[in-house]
């Protein structure tokens, strides 16, 4: 197996230019929202709104300004992408084996296998996957699997003008990220931290340097695998089945006993008629 590869996205140097979004589309030949005829969102400069089947990269814009523009004036930007989780929810639930883990430890949806059942969409803790309206299959970032196989940098990382998106072997990226956090801390920016270390789903192969809470960037604080619910939900269902099954059994038995004990009563008169009717 090749070395695990990934992205380190340093949001403190992201200028929100969206080159990553377009470079991704250009390489992967992805269509645009309504053929490009989109509508203004009114949410800062974000008009593509989210990661989905047509947007494998998405830049978020977060305006943080106090009324006086002095005590707080920040415009945070972040290029979001599939996290290529070490423990991947999408990979778990995919019923066709279309989603695979590659030799680079990345997660890829094989387009020729996907049936568009959409099980992976709600499974992803980050809401990364959606159906592409042209291919009608589930799509997300492949970390440019095809480019990686020939030693090329993924399109977005290559295009990124400020090296906010860095690509490379994870071991090196983690080191770079640590150094960058240390540098920011030494400059008094204590709020800088890494999102996506091993505490999160065993490590995100695409991880981020953030300067505010994850929710501010639209990221879950403690993302979980969907399979956490598999056993407990199944047990609950089985419990229900058992209760009702037993109840059925018991009530059938008691009815028989009760019927014998009570004997024919006026109320069961009709029942007798039924019995007769059912007799062969």
């Amino acid at each position: 197996m090749a070395e695990p590869m990934g992205f380190f996205t340093d949001t403190t140097v992201c200028i929100g230019c969206k080159a990553c979004e377009v470079a991704c589309k250009s390489w992967n030949q992805i269509s645009s929202t309504n053929g490009g005829q989109n509508v203004l969102s009114g949410d800062s400069y974000d008009n593509t709104r989210k990661l989905d089947g047509e947007h494998w990269r998405h830049v978020k814009f977060i305006e943080q300004f106090s009324e006086d523009r002095v005590s707080e004036s920040r415009w945070l930007m972040m290029s979001d992408v599939c996290k290529h989780c070490v423990q991947a929810g999408c990979l778990e639930v995919c019923p066709t084996g279309a989603i695979i883990r590659t030799e680079f430890d990345t997660v890829v949806i094989q387009q020729d296998a996907c049936i568009g059942c959409r099980a992976c969409l709600p499974a992803c803790p980050f809401g990364v996957i959606d159906i592409n309206p042209v291919t009608h299959t589930a799509q997300k970032c492949t970390l440019c699997y095809d480019r990686m196989q020939v030693g090329m940098t993924p399109a977005c990382a290559q295009a990124c003008p400020t090296a906010s998106i860095q690509f490379g072997p994870l071991v090196q990226l983690r080191k770079k990220a640590e150094d960058r956090v240390a540098q920011l801390h030494s400059q008094g920016k204590e709020e800088a931290y890494i999102y996506g270390d091993e505490a999160i789903l065993g490590g995100l192969n695409s991880f981020y340097l953030l300067v505010d809470n994850p929710e501010v960037y639209g990221l879950p604080v403690a993302p979980k695998l969907p399979s956490r619910n598999l056993w407990r939900s199944s047990f609950a269902a089985a419990f229900g089945a058992a209760v009702l099954g037993l109840w059925g059994l018991v009530s059938l038995r008691t009815r028989k006993r009760g019927a014998k004990a009570e004997g024919p009563s006026s109320g069961d008169g009709g029942g007798d008629g039924g019995k007769k009717g059912a007799a062969p």
Binding site: Q110, C117, A119, G218, S233, A241, L244, S266, G273, G277
Partner: protein, 329 residues
Amino acid sequence: MRDVLFTAPAHWHWLIVVYFFFGGLSAGSYVLGALLHLFGGAQERPASRLGYLVSLPALLACPPLLIVDLDRPERFWHLFLWSQRPGVMFKWWSPMSIGSWALLLFGAFSFVSFVGALSADPWRPSWLPERLAVLGRGIWGKVLAAGGAGFAFFIAGYTGVLLSVTNRPLWAETPLLGLLFTASAMAASAALVGFVASRRGGAFVPALPWLSRMEHAAALLELLVLLLFLAWLGPAVAAWRGPYGVLLGMAVLLGLVAPLALTLVRARGHAARGRAARGEASGAARGEMSGEAPGGGHEVTALGVGLVLAGSLALRAAIVLASEALGHA
């Protein structure tokens, strides 16, 4: 903000809701048939067969719904076979994979039981050999019923588990949906089978009281689980502010409260009339003359089954669609 709100909806809409509904009916009917078959007496055999007879038609609605809902329907077979190499595709930890297989296998059970039941039914079509009734008889029939009931319970519950094994709001926030859907399926099926039995009357009547009790038990369980579910969700129930809340209200009022109340009222009326009848001379004749169905107040009216079925559908719709509307839609 809850972590589940950062996830994407599955675009599972009415096709899936309706599938959940029919899947539940099919499974529940089969379970009822099997319970009557396995543990009931001879007088309940017709009603047992009725369960099987209801199960298969309800099940037949499911595969088209599911396949049509796929974005690449022509590839549905990837659920069962590897698409890129020979081999069977099965992932037991993927609810959808296991659900697909369960549906396939349950379909086989349901089909055989259906044929067996139909062959023994007064309405047997002439082209169907009567001897096929053997499929539902004897130890073979019992084994079939037991196996089928297992799969049926699975089908009834896995749809809820499927929703739970995600990261979506409302779905993945409790482990109760499998249980809730199981109970709901049983309640709705009991009402449906009870209704058909009531309509056909005669030999199908003796099972009515038990079906009624099953319905009430399941409905009560459903109500309890639903309350637990809502309590568990806590402030997240705010998701039902709006149109999906109306659906949920309908599910509770129409599907649970109204039928229970209706039954209660009728049972009281029946009991009162029973007392009155006992005080008079020819009670039985009186009872028959009064137009009372012969189920002892356990017969199911069109209104009753309509309410329960609508409630069951509304419950699934309320849960599926309310979650779909949340998160980064």
